[in-house]
């Protein structure tokens, strides 16, 4: 791959010195929320990028992307090491398959590397990467379920989770009643029972700490769609976990 649009020394190969490319990959304006685990560096490392209309600091990832575009593989390595665990978790949540999740990590980063010139300096690299990873993961899921369409719109018409039904109180620290691996099994089984379109919204928003806007960007959904799915996902999970965590002296008993 040869990407020489921006040179590492601060010069731009573009005649108009356009700091960011406005193209079909442009998603949405920048958002201020930082993902869990992100480690902002000094913006001064990014001399070539001055996004028009973005008064806030340039995210340090943008500088790394610029260096990677200029052929600096170590800069890309830093991005890989920064986000590979998150991409793996997201991929595993979507595909529910370990080998697929590993493939998604590889394919998502390679695809990101190939398409670095399409990355918008005014959107976050992590959100952009997650969008690629989500698409890769859905593709893997489709391959596994040959003949069956899989999308993040699947099963979202369900009424489940619209209204809380199990209204028993939970024990004070319910997770402590289970061993670590038993608890992990319960949590995995419970979240895997959600439709993919709810699961992925919950994972991005509540587990990985993306903002509502970033989740919408990453999934290509509207903000209201993300909000409605998040509420239903949270309520469905709550409902399902209630069966394990509710107070034992409740009349209905515990399973």
């Amino acid at each position: 791959m040869k990407i020489q649009r921006h040179l590492p020394g601060g010069q731009s190969a573009e005649p108009d010195h356009a700091p960011v490319k406005i193209g079909q990959e442009l998603l949405h304006p920048p958002v201020s929320h930082h993902p869990k685990g992100a480690n902002p560096l000094k913006p001064s490392e990014s001399p070539t990028i001055e996004p028009v209309g973005a008064p806030e600091e340039v995210h340090p990832d943008v500088a790394l992307v610029e260096r990677a575009r200029g052929g600096d593989v170590h800069a890309f390595e830093t991005l890989v090491k920064q986000y590979d665990r998150q991409v793996f978790r997201i991929a595993q949540h979507i595909t529910q398959n370990r080998e697929d999740a590993q493939d998604v990590v590889q394919d998502a980063f390679l695809k990101a590397y190939e398409k670095l010139d399409q990355f918008q300096g005014n959107s976050k690299f992590y959100t952009w990467l997650v969008r690629i990873a989500v698409n890769e993961a859905l593709m893997r899921l489709r391959k596994r379920r040959t003949g069956k369409m899989v999308s993040i719109d699947e099963d979202v018409q369900t009424e489940e989770g619209s209204v809380p039904r199990d209204l028993a109180e939970w024990r004070p620290n319910p997770e402590q009643e289970y061993g670590q691996s038993e608890l992990a099994d319960i949590l995995r089984k419970t979240i895997n029972g959600l439709p993919p379109g709810f699961r992925v919204v919950f994972v991005l928003r509540d587990v990985e700490g993306l903002s509502t806007e970033e989740t919408a960007n990453a999934l290509g959904l509207s903000v209201p769609a993300v909000k409605s799915r998040l509420l239903r996902a949270r309520l469905q999970l709550r409902e399902r976990l209630s069966r394990y965590f509710r107070k034992k002296n409740n009349e209905d008993g515990v399973q």
Binding site: F88, Q92, V105, L110, P164, E169, A184, L241
Partner: protein, 78 residues
């Protein structure tokens, strides 16, 4: 405020993004409705439990192998 109206604001309440006026209305409803208190508390707990437990860890050896494979391909120019 009805329970449905409360539920419509549940996420914003949990995410701490409601106006003071709305918060006061929601708190008023909570003082009168035990079911919504339970829904709020258990939903918060649900999120907290999922945040605190890493369900899919990437083991170090596998992680290093994946990183090496990715970077080798990048160096070859993909």
């Amino acid at each position: 405020m009805t329970c449905s109206e409360f539920l419509a604001e549940l996420d914003d309440l949990i995410d701490n993004s409601v106006t003071p006026t709305l918060r006061a209305d929601l708190e008023l409803h909570l003082r009168e409705c035990e079911h919504c208190v339970i829904t709020l508390n258990t939903t918060r707990k649900t999120i907290e439990i999922y945040r605190q437990h890493e369900l899919y860890e990437l083991p170090t050896a596998l992680r290093e192998r994946l990183q090496a494979a990715i970077l080798a391909k990048c160096k070859r120019g993909c």
